[in-house]
Symmetry: C2
């Protein structure tokens, strides 16, 4: 088993945090996406969608997408649970993970990719070129991300973790999003004290 | 148990298709999002993020987000499975469901909301106003959606269903996306015959 990883990218970090919580060690290789290694033919055979991370099993079966890889490990190593124990908890964690991803991570990634010079002609993840940056997308992404932080702060006023009293994959997604925002010098605003406590 | 539903919206449809496959009947109420009912106080108590669908359990616990609701029912009624049986199948289904959602549904929803007159000042889901449409977002969303259809057609050339030989939630997400595209008169292109076979 090999994890195709890249130390500087946010989505692989979700998997690394997940594995660390579970105390699972997996051999890793680095796919340097800054050099375009995700578009090389040998990588595209593993993941035609040209994204990291990818988990390659011993028979060559490849699982792309951070949350899919996490789910694989959750099934193989259920403790400590990060996706929830019963129907209700699993559903609540899925709900919060989706909110963190769709209303936090996705808008922030829009802001990053439509702003940093490095992504000038490839503002869409997994596509090598032909998608120029749209400044209005960067601005809207940032506005939505800030709104997400307000909602996060309100939620964390009433619960220790995002989905309740137990740390879960939803916290990992939200944490990685907040860290990713450093790339565009966006910090947790003053006054979001519940969020600051949770971020630690 | 009550499902807060809206017959004309794509995300509630994912849940309805899921329940139909499982042959589960759930009492439903309609939340008319065209009239802004998702922003009314009584609905926001159930889901402060102002989206449908929401599943309200008998003790008042509310689960928002279509996939979270589906997962609740998968745990309670495992057969027929729509999220997969073992670690590998679960991971592969999650991967394809994410691809369908993040590379299909999300770009298409961007195209719809940034184009139809009805969403003039609320181009972001779950927010009542203050987000004007950005024509460049509509155009990029549509371009990404068409690229997604090409990838879908290639995938369905080699497999009966998106995640393999078994119908799964990934097919539901992709199907609802293709249907949603009708709103902007976007059809399956001629020549995508594998996609056309799958769509039926």
């Amino acid at each position: 088993m090999i994890l195709h990883d890249f130390a500087l990218a946010p989505n692989p970090r979700r998997v690394r945090m997940f594995l660390a919580e579970k105390r699972i060690m997996v051999p890793r290789v680095q796919v340097d996406i800054r050099e375009g290694a995700q578009f090389a033919e040998d990588f595209r055979r593993r993941n035609p969608w040209s994204t990291v991370p990818v988990l390659e099993l011993d028979d060559g079966c490849c699982i792309a997408e951070s949350v899919a890889i996490c789910r694989y490990f959750e099934e193989r190593h259920p403790e400590p649970t990060l996706f929830g124990r019963d129907a209700r908890e699993k559903a609540r964690i899925e709900m919060w993970n989706r909110r963190a991803e769709l209303d936090g991570y996705v808008p922030l990634a829009d802001a990053v990719r439509n702003r940093l010079a490095r992504f000038a002609d490839r503002a869409v993840t997994g596509l090598p070129s032909g998608f120029p940056q749209i400044p209005a997308v960067a601005a809207r992404g940032l506005e939505r991300y800030r709104l997400f932080l307000e909602r996060l702060d309100r939620r964390l006023a009433e619960r220790r973790f995002l989905a309740g009293e137990r740390f879960s994959i939803a916290d990992i997604t939200a944490f990685v999003t907040v860290e990713f925002a450093n790339r565009i010098d966006e910090r947790i605003p003053e006054g979001h004290r519940h969020l600051a406590r949770w971020h630690g």
